[in-house]
């Protein structure tokens, strides 16, 4: 499968590792009996931890807790992800046309900081919700806009909103295959010799933020867990690269901003997390222990940025 010179060694190492364990015939026979004898409950719980509750029970408890959270969340009104207040109007400090696009501003030559908040406002007499974390500058003149599901006339609205701005917009409807768009755009940002990272099965409905700005390297993609229901927008994200979820546990990461070299957000316990990506290896490194007091974002102390943009104390 590969020219990799150490591949035979890898195959041999894996074979040795696999053969290093002995399959206990008695254990195997017991497992077979439990399975085929119909005592599935016993089989499922056979590997109980000697200390503490059974793993299966812990898993069930976690699932139950997660379901409870989902139910409660569904019953709550949409909240601004930063302030905790129900957002009914766009912030006064942000240009309204930019808010429509979830775009605070276009700064030539750099990817934008996106705040991720969900906002309500009126478009043509209809109230719509728009999240902020689905647009990223490719370069100074190109942007990709992901039109969220359930946004009436979203594509045209985005195009209209960008009409008076000196940018080239690539608008992608939720659910639409985004790879062709990226393949067209990436050479703009990456230049010769760079390749688009494999986006796997990422589709527009999952892609929340594309960051190719600033570094000139193929960047990373934020993928939401599922197709979001109407109005919810992809507010919560899993950081991935090469299809590899990097922050799916212990809690989802609310992404509040990204720049050419890092992204930060808050986990479900409101702890600041900052993730760096290595352009050479195209890997993300999540540093959950970083001290927010010492971290910077876009050259600004991270806490200052958060207080200013997110409302976190």
């Amino acid at each position: 499968m590969s020219e990799f010179p150490d591949a035979p060694r890898l195959a041999e190492a894996l074979q040795r590792q696999a053969q290093s364990i002995q399959i206990d015939p008695a254990e195997r026979a017991a497992a077979e009996e439990r399975l085929l004898g119909g005592d599935v409950t016993v089989l499922r719980l056979r590997s109980e931890s000697p200390v503490g509750p059974p793993r299966r029970n812990r898993s069930l408890a976690l699932v139950a807790a997660a379901l409870a959270i989902v139910v409660v969340a569904a019953l709550l009104p949409q909240r601004d992800s930063g302030t905790g207040e129900v957002a009914t109007e766009p912030p006064e400090s942000v240009d309204e046309s930019a808010v429509v696009l979830g775009l605070p501003s276009l700064v030539p030559g750099h990817c934008q900081a996106l705040d991720g908040a969900v906002r309500r406002y009126s478009v043509g007499g209809s109230e719509v919700l728009v999240g902020g974390t689905y647009l990223s500058a490719i370069d100074a003149r190109s942007v990709v806009v992901l039109v969220p599901p359930g946004l009436p006339g979203g594509r045209q609205m985005v195009l209209d909103g960008l009409a008076d701005q000196d940018v080239i917009a690539y608008v992608v409807d939720a659910g639409e295959e985004i790879r062709p768009v990226l393949e067209e755009l990436v050479p703009i940002a990456c230049g010769p010799g760079r390749q688009l990272v494999d986006l796997g099965t990422g589709r527009a409905s999952e892609v929340a933020c594309l960051d190719y700005g600033g570094t000139g390297f193929a960047g990373f993609v934020f993928v939401g867990p599922t197709q979001p229901p109407v109005g919810c927008i992809t507010k919560q994200f899993t950081l991935v690269i090469d299809d590899e979820p990097l922050a799916d546990e212990p809690g989802w990461l609310d992404v509040y901003g990204c720049d050419g070299g890092s992204v930060f957000g808050l986990d479900d316990e409101r702890n600041v997390r900052k993730t760096y990506y290595d352009c050479d290896s195209q890997l993300l490194f999540t540093d959950t222990e970083s001290d927010p007091l010492e971290s910077t974002f876009n050259g600004e102390p991270l806490l200052t940025f958060i207080r200013r943009n997110v409302g976190l104390n």
Binding site: M1, S2, F4, D6, A7, R9, L10, A11, E12, A13, L14, Q15, R16, Q17, A18, Q19, S20, I21, I23, E27, R28, A31, E32, R34, L35, L36, V40, L43, R44, R46, S47, R55, D198, G200, T201, D242, D243, E244, P245, D248, E249, S281, Q282, L283
Partner: protein, 175 residues
């Protein structure tokens, strides 16, 4: 594995007792043929024997529950084992597992063991998806298309995962 009508017409509904007997026979044959191989596959993925056994047994339980709807029980079982290992691996990949492996090494093969353990240590550092892709490629011997099927991705993605996994492996081994 499925019973078919010998008359060429639609298969007559089987009696429940017959269906249960057929399922048990099929499951028993699969268990006899695949249990050990699946435990070893899971062990390579999660580095813990007890976890590996539990993953495989869970996979069999899952398969048992869906037996009538599964067209390829062997393929389903392998995918269930890989998925179970990946779920477990994300939660519980621990550095201590690597240390455990040293305890399992075979005395008397120190020179080659160093090389292979070095390889396995490097493999352990890889992102879980790359790790899994390499195991499927170089332990199980699957093609890119087959890896893609197990991982639920496109063949191009599987190929890319293997390629990048090998690159990363080389980088780690050179450290």
């Amino acid at each position: 594995m499925r019973s078919e009508s010998t008359t060429g017409g639609p298969a007559a509904p089987r009696a429940p007792v017959e269906a249960v007997a057929e399922q048990e026979a099929g499951l028993r044959a699969l268990f006899a043929g695949e249990y050990e191989a699946m435990v070893r596959l899971a062990f390579v993925l999660v580095n813990d024997r007890h976890d590996a056994e539990e993953i495989v047994q869970d996979a069999f339980v899952d398969l048992q529950a869906r037996w009538s709807a599964v067209l390829n029980p062997g393929g389903y079982l392998r995918t269930a084992v890989v998925n179970g290992a990946r779920r477990r691996g994300r939660r519980e990949r621990r550095r201590s597992d690597i240390l455990h492996r040293f305890e399992r090494t075979i005395v008397g093969e120190a020179a080659s063991i160093d090389v292979y353990d070095h390889t396995l240590d490097a493999l352990e550092v890889l992102p879980e998806r790359q790790h899994t892709a390499l195991v499927l490629a170089y332990y199980v011997g699957l093609s890119s298309s087959e890896i893609a099927e197990v991982l639920g991705c496109r063949p191009g993605t599987a190929k890319s995962l293997v390629h990048r996994g090998l690159q990363r492996l080389r980088k780690e081994m050179d450290r």
